[in-house]
């Protein structure tokens, strides 16, 4: 037998108190005599010592103690367990929205507390699996209720959307491995995620425990900085989203390289977005936007980015580069072509027609790389026939100018993603070549006359800007990127999950026996009343 409310066992002090009361102020011993007139007005003992004697264990006192003890035990909600051991899978939603503070201290901490509550109702023979639903589903711990407490305490929320589907599938597989146990999946979440794709029948019923529920949040959803066409300045394009159900006015501050540059009040309608553009000096480099108001989720109140402006970057031109290529590089204000024998590592290296065995440091722009190089060996003929029109490399570019180009490679290397390609092979690829951010143009622009078109400097400009941005984001690549979708912290309708076993009540398998205790208390009190009535 276990107790669901063991704190109530402190009420066991009541029988002790009853006995102490009897001891201190207790009832006199009742003695039946044939007649009391022979005892009337006799000299009496005047000492109070006899009042402190230990009270005799008469039937009335015994019944009182039994009734009080039974009542105290009933308050502790005793349960008798007769069912097989359980396997409880606790799925903790570790998405970015779980860091919202509309539930003190955070939604995630509230979910953690509810998880501990669930552990209290388990027996030591039960099994618990703790699964973290962050960017992907992770099994944190599996074992007895006491052994998983540390894992739950150490779990932290992330910055991405939750992998609910994967987490439920993992929980189902964990429970499926212990078929002899009665399984249950407990999903502790704020519900701030779109319905996942169907999971299929799960091996255990899902009990969704909701935490939080507000939508009071504003976020910097987008920050893009572009160089002005004149090359004399930059512009920051800021987008601020309001997920609250009412219009708000948000104080917003834009800083460049740590110095406040602009501060304004932005009015945003309910569940809408506001966009604004802020002119920046040409040398501004690190740009950040911060919302100064208070909302439920502070994680998305700041957004930083790197502007194309700033001090000129050193570029090394290596290989069989043409004058058109050099002019295209030199026409970009933020780039400076330097002497090849400089000892310092360049910010960007342009390799034309060559691919040395030892790659230079920093990002690489590969132009017409040698097709015989092993680094360009790819698979899947024709698999590169695609166009990512929204990719930064193709922004503002007239693709007609490239229609005459023919790729020097036919397959897609493992390190690269195709940005623009034909049935003959990829034309423009990007990726990370041996750790270096790289953009590859698999054609010779000087052959078809592309160098002399207006599209070429724009293509080069896009490629160098993209590579420099990629290079500067290497330092922060290991950090989990905040998913803008997590800024909408309002809960969505939670779908029902199919299970091969129906959902049972939380106390199923543990039979409440407190009604029996209460019945016993009533019977004992009735017996006490009868005894008292008979004694008069």
């Amino acid at each position: 037998m276990t107790f669901l409310a063991p704190v109530a066992l402190v009420a066991l002090a009541v029988p002790l108190a009853i006995y102490v009361i009897h001891w201190l102020f207790g009832s006199r011993r009742r003695v039946r005599v044939p007649a009391i007139f022979l005892w009337a007005e006799l000299p009496q003992a005047r000492t109070g010592r006899s009042r402190r004697r230990r009270p005799p264990f008469n039937l009335l006192l015994l019944l009182q103690l039994v009734a009080a003890t039974l009542a105290a035990l009933a308050l502790a909600r005793p349960v008798a367990s007769s069912d097989p051991p359980r396997h409880l899978a606790l799925v903790l939603d570790a998405s970015g929205s779980m860091q919202a503070t509309d539930v003190a201290p955070t939604r995630f901490d509230a979910a953690r507390a509810r998880a501990f509550d669930r552990l209290r109702g388990l027996r030591s023979t039960d099994l618990v699996s703790v699964i973290r639903a962050g960017g992907d589903a992770t099994l944190l711990a599996s074992g007895s209720p006491d052994s998983v407490r540390s894992a739950i305490a150490a779990a932290q929320p992330g910055r991405t959307s939750p992998a609910i589907r994967e987490a439920l599938a993992l929980a189902s597989s964990q429970i499926g491995q212990t078929g002899e146990r009665r399984g249950q999946i407990v999903l502790l979440t704020d519900g701030a995620w779109p319905p996942p794709e169907p999971v299929g029948p799960l091996s255990a019923p899902v009990d969704v425990v909701a935490v939080g529920g507000g939508s009071e949040n504003q976020a910097v959803s987008s920050l893009v900085v572009r160089m002005d066409p004149t090359g004399r300045g930059q512009t920051a394009f800021v987008e601020i989203a309001n997920s609250a159900e009412h219009a708000v006015r948000v104080p917003t501050r834009l800083s460049a390289d740590g110095a406040p540059l602009d501060e304004r009040q932005v009015d945003i309608a309910a569940r809408a977005r506001a966009r604004l553009s802020v002119p920046l000096p040409v040398d501004a480099h690190r740009i950040s936007v911060r919302l100064l108001g208070h909302d439920a989720l502070q994680l998305d109140d700041v957004l930083e980015t790197t502007a194309p402006g700033g001090p000129p970057r050193d570029v090394d031109l290596l290989g069989r580069f043409s004058d058109g290529m050099r002019r295209a590089i030199e026409s970009i204000p933020s780039l400076r072509v330097r002497a090849a024998d400089s000892g310092l590592p360049p910010d960007l290296t342009v390799l034309v027609g060559v691919l040395p065995p030892r790659l230079p440091s920093g990002p690489l722009l590969l132009v017409d790389p040698p097709a015989s190089s092993g680094r360009l060996l790819g698979v899947g003929l024709g698999s590169g026939a695609r166009v990512q029109a929204s990719h930064p490399l193709l922004q503002g570019l007239d693709l007609v100018a490239l229609e005459n180009e023919s790729p020097s490679v036919s397959g897609v290397p493992g390190w690269a993603h195709v940005v623009l390609g034909t049935l003959q092979g990829p034309l423009i690829m990007e990726g990370r070549l041996e750790g270096h951010p790289a953009v590859a143009m698999t054609f010779d622009p000087s052959v078809t006359g592309l160098e002399k078109s207006i599209a070429f400097p724009l293509l080069v400009s896009n490629a160098t800007a993209y590579l420099l941005t990629q290079s500067e984001s290497v330092a922060t690549a290991k950090l989990e990127v905040f998913d803008p979708a997590e800024s909408d912290i309002a809960p969505r309708p939670i779908p029902s999950f199919q299970s091969v076993v129906p959902l049972s009540s939380p106390t199923n398998g543990a039979t409440d026996v407190w009604p029996w205790f209460v019945t016993a208390v009533v019977l004992v009190l009735g017996a006490e009343w009868l005894v008292f009535g008979r004694r008069g």
């Binding site: 006199r28 006799l42 003992a45």
Partner: protein
């Protein structure tokens, strides 16, 4: 609950009989002397013949020797009417053994003795208004099991006014009977009224006072609540040695009052303790008190 002795245990009392101070009048056939001269074999005296006397009673041997007619006077033997009054108040349901069970044993023994002498024995249990139980009259020992069965069923009836109960238990026609009162006499003012009512009916009264050792030597100490067995009245008391000494003195005086209450009225009084064996009570205590011989 009452009566703890088996019926065959009374055979040792076969030779005992009641001591009576008045002639028996319960009819012929008994073993007690009668005041009435009647034809029988029990010779008492001679007297001169008077006209009308039965010639069959003339002693012709005396006439031959003395020359005068003398008639033999004989005396009839009558049965004694014995009424045993058993106090069934709740105060008798106290002590170890309880006084009521012990008193029932004594009543059964007295009834046996009466039946052994062919007396007419009735047993009345004193109740609140009328006798709570009435057994008899019994005239033969063969009916002893019937009495024993009846005594086994008696139970305490609560508070009993002894004086009123004794006064009303005998009907007006009962006269010159032997009345044996078996009681603890626990009334504040004694039972003088009841005894005088019995004597007014010319009854020969015997009081058997039953006392318990728990009454004589109570084992009490500390704070107690004394509950009256009859009235359920409560008396809170702090019992000390001084209290017990005062109680014993009061009890002794009270017992002496009850004894003198009987003595001054010519009533035989026997005090018996419940911790004494029944045969010793009957053979010693009651004989020494002049109740039996």
């Amino acid at each position: 609950m009452a009566l703890t002795v088996a019926a065959d245990a009374f055979k040792q009392f076969d030779r005992l009989s009641f001591v009576v101070r008045r002639p028996a009048r319960a009819g012929l056939g008994g073993e007690h002397r009668s005041r009435r001269p009647s034809p029988s074999t029990e010779f008492v005296d001679y007297r001169p013949y008077q006209p009308g006397d039965d010639f069959r009673r003339v002693d012709w041997n005396v006439y031959g020797r003395l020359g005068s007619l003398q008639v033999k006077v004989t005396e009839g033997r009558q049965r004694l009417e014995v009424v045993v009054l058993l106090d069934c108040s709740s105060s008798m349901d106290a002590g170890t053994p309880d006084k009521l069970s012990f008193a029932a044993d004594v009543v059964a023994a007295l009834a046996y003795i009466g039946m052994a002498r062919a007396d007419s024995v009735r047993v009345l249990c004193l109740g609140k208004d009328t006798p709570s139980a009435n057994f008899g009259p019994f005239g033969r020992r063969s009916r002893m099991p019937e009495l024993v069965a009846g005594l086994k069923r008696i139970a305490p009836v609560g508070a009993v006014d002894l004086n009123a109960a004794i006064d009303t238990c005998l009907d007006a026609a009962s006269r010159q009977t032997l009345v044996v009162v078996v009681s603890d006499l626990l009334t504040r003012d004694g039972i003088a009224g009841g005894l005088e009512a019995l004597q007014a009916r010319l009854a020969d009264v015997v009081v058997v006072h039953v006392v318990s050792p728990d009454e004589l030597e109570p084992r009490l100490s500390g704070e107690v609540e004394l509950v009256d067995a009859e009235t359920n009245g409560v008396l809170e008391l702090g019992v000390s040695l001084e209290t017990l000494a005062a109680y014993r003195a009061r009890l002794a005086a009270w017992l002496e009052e009850r004894a003198s209450e009987c003595r001054i009225r010519g009533i035989r009084y026997a005090r018996v303790r419940t911790d004494r064996p029944l045969n010793m009570v009957v053979l010693d205590d009651l004989r020494q008190s002049g109740v039996l011989r």
